[in-house]
Symmetry: C2
Subunit: 210 residues, 2 copies
Amino acid sequence: MRADAQRNAEKLRAAAAELFHERGLQVPLKEIARRAGVSHGTLYNLFGTREALIDEVVTDHAARRLEEVAQQALSIEDAWAGFAHYVEKICELQATDPAVADVVSGRYPGAERLMTACDRTRDAAQRILGRAREAGALRPDFTDADLVFAFAANALLARSTGEAAPNAWRRQAAFLLDGLRTEAARAQPPATQPTEQQVHDALKDLGDTT
Amino acid sequence: MRADAQRNAEKLRAAAAELFHERGLQVPLKEIARRAGVSHGTLYNLFGTREALIDEVVTDHAARRLEEVAQQALSIEDAWAGFAHYVEKICELQATDPAVADVVSGRYPGAERLMTACDRTRDAAQRILGRAREAGALRPDFTDADLVFAFAANALLARSTGEAAPNAWRRQAAFLLDGLRTEAARAQPPATQPTEQQVHDALKDLGDTT
DNA sequence: AGAAAACCTGACCCTCTGGTCAACTTAATT
DNA sequence: AATTAAGTTGACCAGAGGGTCAGGTTTTCT
């Protein structure tokens, strides 16, 4: 790769990182090129697709963040506290960083490395959840899929209301958490066993308003 | 108004009603015209703006639905049961009918009659909420604004996952409800006193994914 | 330095959306 | 039936976004 190409790639990566984290994984590619001070043609030359760019720029960062939170959660003795911490922190990550929110929700299936990271996260979540459930703290009818959807809802809410009502999602998360304790369980949610595939499908169009 | 214009207006109203209820208030106007079998120019002639069309086609229906649910809720003796019923039914309405979801979330401030209906709904909600709170069933830190945001989150989730995971929103709503009982309150949500205006602002861009 | 390969640019194509309007068509009126 | 007012149409404008590529520029290599 020629030296100038290298430089441009770097500029593009930087701009992409900024914009992805500011506004999510769907920012217009042309805008990224604009911010990088480079023609959008160059962006296509160097990265080809949005997914490739995402993989280079977002994946590692997001994976690290998510991993950290999972570790923290698992390192807390109390199973419930660990679970609650996990939920809160993930929600916060999503609110803080739209790119991570998109990752958590499993959008952009094209980005391979990203999807791998995403799966790892789901595994971690499963462990944290299982632990809390087995400890009798988490209501037993709360499934892995439910957690994924809870995060999805949080991501959507945080993105929509983050500016004007910065605490809205936090409060919703707190109320929900209180409803997830075993002692709180009263209503019985309608049964479901969505396959992973279904969960996946359900999420990949998250936020397509139409 | 000429007879043919009358007919066209009718066709447009019908098409608009269908599409709004199928896909929400942001369907392309050209698509409505297409379904009505009429040039989009005619749509602009007869209605001028999207808001006007909404007001003619959606407002009454939505207002009636919402009103019904509120009445039902208030007619239930038990304050908590009434509140729970209200939440469930509104969520269901939102999931069933994207147009209503948009109304509940207070989008489309341009549509005057709609906004009036929307305000009435909020008043009803306030009564239902107040009653449950005073009865000691609803946790006292759950505010009117929280309910609005809960509905917003539900609308977003239902819209995104409705096809692939038809029960997801229902389950989330059930968990949340369990967290709203006074007995369930453990966590203390971060304080907020958003003004009506802020709530309004927070919602009007709901679902703008970018 | 000169040639060859690599790379960059921006004009161009596409689609989709909102929106306007001159020219044509049709209903109503006399 | 002729006139006129009302109404309709579709081409057209603008802007956003995705994506391609011929042709001009740079780097690199010999």
